[in-house]
């Protein structure tokens, strides 16, 4: 399975907490990444389309706010499975890196 790009991983992680709309998701991703990743609308909606095509997310509901449609997206079961697999893969790699750095006494790891 192909590894996931960081924005995709963060979008799926944000949606794992529950359905979100576009702007809510941008702020949540910024929070999760501690301000390192700020998604922009063009990137976000291209990702929405791709992830919907792959069946990892789906449209949840629509609301009208200030006369505009606000669409909510949710994580699908396939998306949750894929996110869990990716998180496990990353955890495994992080553990391996930490173990080796610790063994070599490098990187200032605790």
């Amino acid at each position: 399975m192909r590894s996931m790009q960081e924005p995709t991983f963060l979008i799926l992680t944000a949606l794992a907490a529950g359905p979100q709309h576009g702007y809510g998701l941008i702020t949540d991703v910024e929070q999760i990444s501690e301000g390192r990743v700020r998604l922009r609308a063009g990137t976000l909606y291209a990702a929405f389309e791709r992830l919907q095509e792959e069946g990892l997310i789906a449209e949840d509901r629509e609301e009208i706010v200030d006369g505009r449609v606000r669409r909510y997206y949710r994580l699908t079961d396939d998306g949750a499975t894929r996110l869990a697999a990716e998180a496990e893969r990353m955890r495994h790699h992080a553990r391996a890196a930490s173990t080796r750095l610790r063994a070599a006494g490098l990187g200032g790891m605790a």
């Binding site: 702007y23 609308a41 063009g42 990137t43 909606y45 389309e49 200030d66 505009r68 669409r71």
Partner: protein
């Protein structure tokens, strides 16, 4: 509407129509929510991101997995049209072969020796059979076409210098025309082709191809440099006409180079720059005319399947 919103909408106009219909309001909401108070112009990074997103979406529709069936259909249409293109090419060649002797003398000759008509028409009959096979979806006719081609080629194949590209490639094009008549995709493609429209374009194609095959000796040097242009113009106009539909623009893209090669492109690659630019201008103008012709003829269907709400529909 604020000036910022109007500017965002102008940027969103670059997105595919179906995406805009479904997501424009949502995206505007996100963009405005992320803007600073008093901001009147989109941030440069947002502009670049929106334009890059638009390109990604157009590419996904044109080449992504969602467009695979449309590409399969376009290949099928290309295969179904190829025998007709070879027949048109053959007919153009035979007309030009006959051109110098057209007149009362030729009629007299044909009346005296009816067999000579058959001699002249032989290649036309040979390449009409694969067209019939595809149009009627009959393998038997395809087999008859293959047999006729073998008998026809037998007399000339051995004498041709097959190592030369200008001999081998036309022969390959003919073999492909005979072979595709047996295939399922070509028969399926035949059911996707608007034959009436194709038949309306074919005489123009014949004229263009015949013009491209005019003997250089009959023309002045300056005119000879323009002789491939009528064929390219007709081809570009037909491509423009077809390009308004999902299937048509893919088929046009696939067929453009091989079909251009059917004409005698002569010295096109080594033209002086101003002349080359003038000829490219003619071809682009013809393409634009073709798209407008389709629009004016059928304004309601001008979108050619674009005006759908299916997310990620092929473009």
């Amino acid at each position: 509407m604020t000036s910022l919103e109007a500017r965002y909408r102008r940027l969103l106009a670059c997105y595919p129509h179906d995406h805009r219909t479904r997501h424009e309001e949502d995206m505007i909401g996100v963009l405005l929510a992320g803007s600073r108070p008093g901001q009147t112009r989109p941030h440069l990074a947002d502009t670049a991101d929106l334009l890059a997103g638009a390109v990604r979406m157009h590419c996904r529709r044109a080449f992504g997995t969602v467009s695979a069936p449309a590409w399969r259909d376009a290949v099928a249409v290309g295969m179904a049209l190829w025998p007709l293109l070879i027949l048109t090419d053959t007919l153009a060649r035979q007309i030009m072969f006959l051109a110098p002797s057209i007149g009362v003398g030729l009629l007299h000759h044909w009346t005296q020796e009816p067999g000579s008509i058959l001699f002249w028409a032989r290649p036309v009959i040979v390449f009409a059979l694969p067209v019939l096979a595809v149009a009627l979806r009959r393998r038997g006719v395809a087999a008859l076409g293959a047999l006729a081609f073998l008998l026809y080629a037998d007399t000339s194949l051995l004498t041709r210098p097959l190592a030369l590209p200008n001999v081998a490639l036309p022969l390959l094009a003919q073999v492909v025309a005979v072979a595709v008549a047996f295939t399922g995709p070509a028969r399926r493609g035949a059911s996707l082709i608007p034959w009436r429209t194709v038949m309306l374009w074919t005489p123009f194609g014949l004229v263009g191809l015949a013009a491209s095959k005019l003997g250089g000796g009959l023309l002045g040097h300056e005119i000879a440099l323009w002789k491939p242009v009528p064929w390219l113009i007709i081809m570009a106009a037909a491509a423009g006409y077809a390009a308004r539909s999902v299937l048509g623009r893919r088929a046009s893209l696939l067929l453009f180079l091989p079909v251009a090669a059917l004409g005698d492109l002569g010295k096109l690659p080594s033209l002086p720059t101003p002349l080359a630019l003038a000829q490219i201008g003619c071809v682009l103008g013809a393409f634009a005319m073709g798209t407008m012709l389709r629009d004016s003829k059928n304004p309601r269907k001008a979108g050619g399947g674009r005006r759908t709400h299916t997310p990620g529909c092929p473009r």
